[in-house]
Protein backbone atom coordinates (compact mmCIF):
# COMPACT_ATOMS: atom_id res chain seq x y z
CA UNK A 1 0.00 0.00 0.00
CA UNK A 2 1.52 3.30 -1.06
CA UNK A 3 2.11 5.63 1.79
CA UNK A 4 3.02 9.30 1.58
CA UNK A 5 4.55 9.51 4.99
CA UNK A 6 5.99 12.90 5.92
CA UNK A 7 7.19 11.79 9.32
CA UNK A 8 8.01 14.84 11.43
CA UNK A 9 8.82 12.46 14.26
CA UNK A 10 11.40 10.64 12.16
CA UNK A 11 9.46 7.39 12.53
CA UNK A 12 9.62 6.10 8.98
CA UNK A 13 9.45 2.38 8.31
CA UNK A 14 13.07 1.71 7.46
CA UNK A 15 12.25 -1.76 6.18
CA UNK A 16 10.03 -0.32 3.46
CA UNK A 17 11.26 0.08 -0.10
CA UNK A 18 8.27 2.23 -1.00
CA UNK A 19 9.79 5.33 -2.63
CA UNK A 20 6.84 7.43 -1.44
CA UNK A 21 7.63 6.70 2.16
CA UNK A 22 10.36 9.16 2.91
CA UNK A 23 12.37 10.44 5.82
CA UNK A 24 12.18 14.14 6.61
CA UNK A 25 15.32 15.01 4.65
CA UNK A 26 14.22 12.94 1.65
CA UNK A 27 10.86 14.68 1.73
CA UNK A 28 12.48 18.12 1.83
CA UNK A 29 14.69 17.08 -1.08
CA UNK A 30 11.69 15.82 -3.05
CA UNK A 31 9.73 19.03 -2.37
CA UNK A 32 12.65 21.18 -3.50
CA UNK A 33 13.22 18.89 -6.50
CA UNK A 34 9.64 19.14 -7.73
CA UNK A 35 9.62 22.90 -7.08
CA UNK A 36 12.87 23.23 -9.03
CA UNK A 37 11.45 21.38 -12.03
CA UNK A 38 8.31 23.57 -11.93
CA UNK A 39 10.46 26.72 -11.77
CA UNK A 40 12.61 25.45 -14.67
CA UNK A 41 9.49 24.70 -16.73
CA UNK A 42 8.12 28.19 -16.08
CA UNK A 43 11.45 29.79 -16.94
CA UNK A 44 11.78 27.82 -20.18
CA UNK A 45 8.28 28.87 -21.18
CA UNK A 46 9.18 32.49 -20.59
CA UNK A 47 12.04 31.96 -23.05
CA UNK A 48 14.61 33.54 -20.81
CA UNK A 49 18.13 33.75 -22.06
CA UNK A 50 19.59 30.30 -21.68
CA UNK A 51 22.57 29.73 -19.44
CA UNK A 52 25.18 28.16 -21.64
CA UNK A 53 27.79 25.83 -20.19
CA UNK A 54 31.23 27.28 -19.79
CA UNK A 55 33.71 26.40 -22.52
CA UNK A 56 37.33 26.41 -21.47
CA UNK A 57 39.69 28.13 -23.84
CA UNK A 58 43.40 27.49 -24.09
CA UNK A 59 44.35 30.67 -22.22
CA UNK A 60 42.42 29.55 -19.13
CA UNK A 61 44.37 26.34 -18.73
CA UNK A 62 47.71 27.24 -20.29
CA UNK A 63 48.11 30.97 -19.60
CA UNK A 64 51.11 31.75 -17.41
CA UNK A 65 51.96 28.09 -16.96
CA UNK A 66 55.37 27.29 -15.55
CA UNK A 67 57.21 24.99 -17.91
Amino acid sequence: MANFNFAFDGQTDMMSLNPLEMTNFEMMGAIFGVLGVVIALIQSRRAAKRQLPHTFVATETEEGALD
Binding site: L17, N24, G36, V37, A40
Partner: protein, 149 residues
Protein backbone atom coordinates in the same frame (compact mmCIF):
# COMPACT_ATOMS: atom_id res chain seq x y z
CA UNK B 1 12.61 14.90 -26.06
CA UNK B 2 15.53 13.01 -24.53
CA UNK B 3 17.50 16.26 -24.23
CA UNK B 4 14.59 17.90 -22.48
CA UNK B 5 14.22 14.93 -20.11
CA UNK B 6 17.94 15.07 -19.29
CA UNK B 7 17.70 18.80 -18.59
CA UNK B 8 14.85 18.39 -16.09
CA UNK B 9 16.47 15.29 -14.57
CA UNK B 10 19.57 17.37 -13.84
CA UNK B 11 17.42 20.17 -12.43
CA UNK B 12 15.56 17.71 -10.20
CA UNK B 13 18.78 16.09 -8.97
CA UNK B 14 20.36 19.49 -8.24
CA UNK B 15 17.36 20.75 -6.28
CA UNK B 16 16.87 17.39 -4.54
CA UNK B 17 20.46 17.12 -3.36
CA UNK B 18 20.51 20.83 -2.53
CA UNK B 19 17.36 20.65 -0.42
CA UNK B 20 18.40 17.39 1.21
CA UNK B 21 21.88 18.59 2.18
CA UNK B 22 20.79 22.08 3.20
CA UNK B 23 18.12 20.69 5.54
CA UNK B 24 20.47 17.99 6.84
CA UNK B 25 23.18 20.57 7.51
CA UNK B 26 20.92 23.17 9.11
CA UNK B 27 19.13 20.54 11.18
CA UNK B 28 22.37 19.75 13.00
CA UNK B 29 22.59 23.30 14.34
CA UNK B 30 18.87 24.17 14.55
CA UNK B 31 17.08 20.97 15.49
CA UNK B 32 13.82 20.81 13.51
CA UNK B 33 13.63 17.11 12.73
CA UNK B 34 14.95 14.36 15.03
CA UNK B 35 18.49 13.42 14.11
CA UNK B 36 18.54 10.11 12.23
CA UNK B 37 20.16 7.26 14.15
CA UNK B 38 22.57 4.77 12.70
CA UNK B 39 21.17 1.26 12.60
CA UNK B 40 24.45 -0.51 13.29
CA UNK B 41 26.59 -0.45 16.42
CA UNK B 42 29.80 0.18 14.46
CA UNK B 43 28.10 3.04 12.62
CA UNK B 44 26.94 4.59 15.89
CA UNK B 45 30.48 4.41 17.26
CA UNK B 46 31.76 6.03 14.08
CA UNK B 47 29.26 8.89 14.41
CA UNK B 48 30.13 9.32 18.10
CA UNK B 49 33.86 9.44 17.30
CA UNK B 50 33.27 11.86 14.42
CA UNK B 51 31.15 14.07 16.70
CA UNK B 52 33.83 14.06 19.41
CA UNK B 53 36.45 15.06 16.84
CA UNK B 54 34.15 17.79 15.43
CA UNK B 55 34.34 16.10 12.01
CA UNK B 56 30.58 15.69 12.07
CA UNK B 57 30.10 19.45 12.61
CA UNK B 58 32.50 20.16 9.72
CA UNK B 59 30.57 17.75 7.49
CA UNK B 60 27.30 19.46 8.43
CA UNK B 61 28.75 22.90 7.62
CA UNK B 62 29.88 21.57 4.24
CA UNK B 63 26.44 20.02 3.69
CA UNK B 64 24.67 23.27 4.56
CA UNK B 65 26.84 25.58 2.44
CA UNK B 66 27.10 23.22 -0.54
CA UNK B 67 23.39 22.41 -0.33
CA UNK B 68 22.61 26.13 -0.55
CA UNK B 69 25.01 26.42 -3.51
CA UNK B 70 23.20 23.61 -5.35
CA UNK B 71 19.81 25.05 -4.50
CA UNK B 72 20.66 28.56 -5.69
CA UNK B 73 22.75 27.37 -8.66
CA UNK B 74 25.96 29.05 -7.48
CA UNK B 75 29.42 27.42 -7.65
CA UNK B 76 27.75 24.10 -8.49
CA UNK B 77 30.90 22.23 -9.67
CA UNK B 78 32.79 23.36 -6.54
CA UNK B 79 29.86 22.38 -4.31
CA UNK B 80 29.67 18.93 -5.94
CA UNK B 81 33.39 18.44 -5.40
CA UNK B 82 33.24 19.45 -1.73
CA UNK B 83 30.14 17.34 -1.11
CA UNK B 84 31.54 14.18 -2.71
CA UNK B 85 33.52 13.02 0.35
CA UNK B 86 30.40 13.46 2.51
CA UNK B 87 28.21 11.52 0.08
CA UNK B 88 30.76 8.73 -0.32
CA UNK B 89 31.34 8.49 3.43
CA UNK B 90 27.60 8.25 4.12
CA UNK B 91 27.33 5.59 1.42
CA UNK B 92 30.25 3.55 2.77
CA UNK B 93 29.10 3.72 6.38
CA UNK B 94 25.49 2.83 5.60
CA UNK B 95 25.11 0.45 2.69
CA UNK B 96 27.29 -2.43 3.91
CA UNK B 97 26.44 -2.03 7.58
CA UNK B 98 22.90 -0.78 8.08
CA UNK B 99 20.33 -3.58 7.71
CA UNK B 100 17.47 -1.28 6.68
CA UNK B 101 16.60 -1.42 2.94
CA UNK B 102 15.15 2.10 3.08
CA UNK B 103 18.43 3.58 4.31
CA UNK B 104 20.44 1.61 1.76
CA UNK B 105 18.17 2.78 -1.05
CA UNK B 106 18.24 6.37 0.17
CA UNK B 107 22.02 6.75 0.37
CA UNK B 108 22.48 4.88 -2.92
CA UNK B 109 19.99 7.25 -4.55
CA UNK B 110 21.93 10.24 -3.24
CA UNK B 111 25.20 8.84 -4.60
CA UNK B 112 23.62 8.11 -7.99
CA UNK B 113 22.19 11.65 -8.16
CA UNK B 114 25.59 13.04 -7.20
CA UNK B 115 27.27 11.07 -10.01
CA UNK B 116 24.57 12.21 -12.47
CA UNK B 117 25.28 15.84 -11.49
CA UNK B 118 29.05 15.35 -11.81
CA UNK B 119 28.46 13.89 -15.27
CA UNK B 120 26.10 16.74 -16.16
CA UNK B 121 28.72 19.34 -15.22
CA UNK B 122 31.56 17.32 -16.76
CA UNK B 123 32.83 20.21 -18.87
CA UNK B 124 34.13 21.87 -15.69
CA UNK B 125 36.12 18.77 -14.80
CA UNK B 126 37.71 17.99 -18.16
CA UNK B 127 40.74 20.22 -17.37
CA UNK B 128 41.44 17.88 -14.42
CA UNK B 129 42.13 15.11 -16.93
CA UNK B 130 45.24 16.87 -18.19
CA UNK B 131 47.80 14.07 -18.49
CA UNK B 132 50.86 16.27 -18.09
CA UNK B 133 49.91 19.35 -16.12
CA UNK B 134 52.18 22.35 -15.61
CA UNK B 135 51.85 24.30 -12.34
CA UNK B 136 50.16 27.62 -12.71
CA UNK B 137 50.32 29.21 -9.23
CA UNK B 138 47.54 31.46 -8.04
CA UNK B 139 50.05 34.00 -6.70
CA UNK B 140 51.38 34.77 -10.19
CA UNK B 141 48.01 36.21 -11.20
CA UNK B 142 45.55 36.45 -8.27
CA UNK B 143 43.14 38.48 -10.39
CA UNK B 144 42.27 35.29 -12.24
CA UNK B 145 40.12 34.31 -9.27
CA UNK B 146 37.84 37.29 -9.76
CA UNK B 147 37.96 36.88 -13.54
CA UNK B 148 36.74 33.28 -13.11
CA UNK B 149 33.64 34.34 -11.16
Amino acid sequence: MLRSFAKYLVVFCRYYLGGFNLCSGLNYFVLIFPQPKMGAQAGMEFVTAATDLNIFAYAKVVEGICGACLLFNRFVPLALTLLMPVTVMIFLTNVPWVPFPHVQMSVTRNLVMHVILLAAYANYFYPLLKFRAAPQPVWTDPARITRAL
